[in-house]
């Protein structure tokens, strides 16, 4: 073996440790990058013939914790759904602030109390005006709730469109990354790919298939959204069903409708297609039922002048939106019936019967108040459930991220230790070169 061989080995060592320190630097500078996967240098002994030629650094290895990563993708989908559901439901709850004087409970109470006052003083026009006033406040309140619900519903569509734009952009990027990876894999691209998958999985339900070279195929509801040569972008579609506007997600190209059941987008879809129409129906039923019950009694009665057979509320109320007092009564409150035909003026029997409606079970759930309160209680239940789901889901994901980071995360202590180790090895290799140099001088001096 010649002395120059030793020189060659030393040179290789120097280069190998230099590269190792570069990897360590990479790791350290990305220590706080969530999507960065820790890299490690593989030192392979070079063999050539019988004798070792020194160290060589193969491609650095990017560490993975595949199980945890994929779990995170699938748990993210649930988290996204819980989060958007919770957010929307809290908004809805805010509309029904019962702690102040404008809550529906209070307004309904005032309405019934006004009838009680009229029952006590059926001869007075003041008590009649009060009934009309309170009924108007009630109808304003119903209409406010209706338009508030509508406002919440109206903001869903633009938000979904933004979300879809984002999803489409991410799908496009994934395809680009797939193509680049096929040309030449690169750990930085893989980090970026993981970031995209993580964000995408919060939006919609998806399945990810990864090939050996790092390309990914992303499926949602069994449809391939992105691969090396496929890109299926999504779009929002509106269909009218039973008078409500249902939103659905379909493929831009073929129009095939996807069943999106997880992720933020699913939460928004469910809110728009099911939850909000449900809530609106329930409250519409309250408005309808209340008006019908009052009208039924009012129609049988008559006013002081014996004029009767009128509806108190408009006759064809379908829900909160068109809940209003009969225009004839608004124009002339003296038309309000207080007694049954044939009774004396001082009998407030009709007014009293309408007042009694407050404790009459006019709905399956009971009185108007009980109906409304059971509605609120259900809403509260749902929010609590969504809140709980969101929190526990966050914990699950944090746990999984810890599992993932246990393998792929950068530990400063580890990197620093390695740096010292590599640095010393580097110095040693340099020392080798000076030693060989000296040896060579010795040999030359021998001549």
């Amino acid at each position: 073996m010649s002395i120059s061989r030793i020189l060659e080995i030393s040179k290789r060592s120097l280069l190998a440790y230099q590269s190792a320190i570069k990897t360590t630097t990479d790791n350290i500078s990305n220590a706080n990058n969530e999507y960065y996967k820790r890299r490690r240098v593989n030192f392979n002994e070079l063999n050539s013939g019988y004798s070792a030629l020194g160290l060589d650094v193969n491609d650095t290895q990017r560490l993975r914790q595949r199980f945890a990563e994929y779990q995170i993708y699938s748990e993210n989908q649930l988290l996204g759904k819980y989060q958007s559901t919770h957010r929307m439901l809290s908004q809805i709850e805010g509309m029904f602030d019962e702690s102040n004087d404008a809550g529906l409970s209070k307004v309904m109470n005032d309405f019934f109390t006004a009838w009680n006052d009229l029952a006590k003083d059926p001869e007075s026009s003041y008590a009649r005006n009060l009934v009309v006033d309170k009924a108007n406040v009630l109808s304003d309140n119903f209409q406010r709730i209706d338009s508030d619900l509508q406002n919440i519903q109206d903001q869903i569509k633009p938000e979904l469109q933004l979300q879809l734009k984002d999803v489409n952009q991410k799908l496009g990027l994934l395809q680009k990354i797939n193509r680049q990876i096929r040309k030449k894999a690169n750990p930085d691209l893989l980090d970026q790919r993981d970031k995209l998958l993580d964000e995408l999985s919060q939006k919609i339900n998806l399945k990810i298939k990864e090939k050996a070279n790092g390309e990914v195929n992303v499926y949602s509801d069994g449809i391939l959204l992105v691969s090396y040569d496929t890109l299926n972008e999504l779009k929002l579609n509106e269909v009218n069903k039973n008078g409500t506007t249902q939103l659905q997600i379909q493929l831009k190209n073929s129009g095939h409708v996807l069943d999106i059941n997880n992720g933020e987008i699913a939460g928004l879809l469910e809110m728009n297609n099911k939850v909000l129409p449900d809530y609106k129906n329930k409250l519409d039923e309250l408005a309808r039922g209340l008006a019908a019950a009052v009208n039924k009694i009012h129609r049988k009665g008559e006013n002081l002048n014996g004029v009767g057979g009128l509806d108190f509320f408009a006759s064809d109320i379908k829900g909160m939106a068109d809940f209003k007092v009969n225009q004839a009564i608004v124009d002339d409150p003296s038309l309000i019936a207080t007694k049954y035909p044939g009774e004396g003026e001082g009998s407030g029997s009709v007014a009293s019967a309408i007042n009694d409606l407050q404790s009459t079970a006019i709905f399956n759930e009971g009185t108007a108040h009980e109906y409304y309160h059971s509605f609120l209680t259900q809403l509260g239940d749902k929010i609590q459930e969504a809140d709980f789901n969101e929190n526990s889901q966050k914990m699950i994901i944090d746990q999984l991220k810890n599992q993932r980071d246990a393998v792929t995360g950068v530990s400063m202590d580890e990197e620093m230790t390695q740096m010292v180790q590599y640095q010393q090895a580097y110095s040693a290799a340099a020392k080798m070169i000076t030693t060989v140099d000296k040896m060579m001088s010795t040999v030359i001096e021998m001549v």
Binding site: K339, G346, Q358, H373, G380, Q384, A406, M412, M416, T417
Partner: protein, 292 residues
């Protein structure tokens, strides 16, 4: 297991957030003094509290009805007492007409006194309270429910009852109708007595006086029965008031934050938060860098 600084930070931050969220909740409860503000704070408690609120509110409406009814009934009761007083006066005076010493002149004088009483009694029957006829059934806006024509008194109102709901189960009548007054035969007995006194036939006077006495008893009975209604009302009022006190207590238990409890909770949350902060900062400072 490798523990990286990112893992450590994630755990620390999520714990700090949790502590903060807990503290904010407690703080909110302290500042609003309420455990339940929104349905989602405690759906079951919320629905219980709402039911209690509703029951309380209805009871307060009933209490207000009772108060209003009491005013009306006190007035009616006073009028009935007055009527009874007239009846007793009439009986006393008519009895003098039977005295052995009573001359025709005396009897005529008594007859005109009784006419005066009858006049008064009719005007009591026509009294109004807050613009409504008291003794006209539900025909509360009649000019004069009792019409007096010579000595004949006729009643033009109806026999209907004015009703008030005074509890969830009880609807009570608050009026005495003119028909009930007529049914005591007070007015007709007065007429009979006055005519008998004017005619001077002792037997007739005796018969009329007996009728008048019976009528006086009738009016007294009416007044007494009505009076007992008022005391019944008082009983219901007391019961409703007690029930409402209980309701308020239950609502408070359901909704109100117990300050002592919340303050202790806040204190312990503070301690937990501070401890987390302190240990986090201490552990974060540990790094191999210091020792290289």
């Amino acid at each position: 297991m490798r523990i990286t600084s990112a893992m450590f930070m994630r755990d620390a931050v999520s714990r700090l957030f949790q502590n903060r969220a807990d503290m904010i909740e407690t703080q909110e409860r302290i500042s609003t003094q309420k455990k339940i503000e929104k349905p989602s704070d405690d759906p079951v408690g919320f629905s219980r509290a709402q039911r209690l609120h509703e029951a309380l509110r209805q009871n307060e409406e009933f209490l207000k009805n009772i108060d209003d009814s009491e005013a009306w009934m006190d007035n009616t009761s006073a009028l009935l007492d007055q009527l009874h007083q007239y009846a007793m006066d009439a009986v006393t005076k008519a009895t003098h007409g039977l005295d052995a010493v009573a001359t025709d002149d005396v009897r005529q004088a008594i007859a005109s006194q009784l006419s005066g009483l009858l006049e008064e009694a009719v005007s009591v029957g026509n009294s109004t309270y807050m613009g409504k006829n008291v003794f006209a059934g539900t025909d509360t806006k009649l000019e004069q429910p009792f019409q007096k024509n010579g000595l004949d008194v006729t009643y033009e109102g109806n026999d209907a009852k004015i009703k008030r709901r005074i509890s969830k189960q009880i609807v009570t009548d608050i009026n005495v109708s003119g028909k009930e007054l007529m049914d005591t035969n007070f007015f007709s007995a007065m007429k009979e007595t006055i005519e008998a006194l004017q005619n001077g036939n002792k037997d007739d006077i005796q018969t009329a006086l007996d009728h008048l006495k019976a009528a006086e008893k009738g009016v007294l009975k009416l007044s007494t029965v009505y009076g007992s209604k008022i005391s019944n009302l008082q009983l219901i009022k007391d019961r409703l008031t007690t029930t409402n006190e209980n309701f308020r207590k239950f609502i408070s238990q359901e909704e109100d934050a117990v300050l002592e409890e919340e303050l202790v909770t806040l204190k312990s949350q503070q301690v937990a938060y501070q401890a987390t902060l302190q240990t986090t900062s201490e552990v974060m400072n540990l790094s191999i860098l210091k020792y290289l």
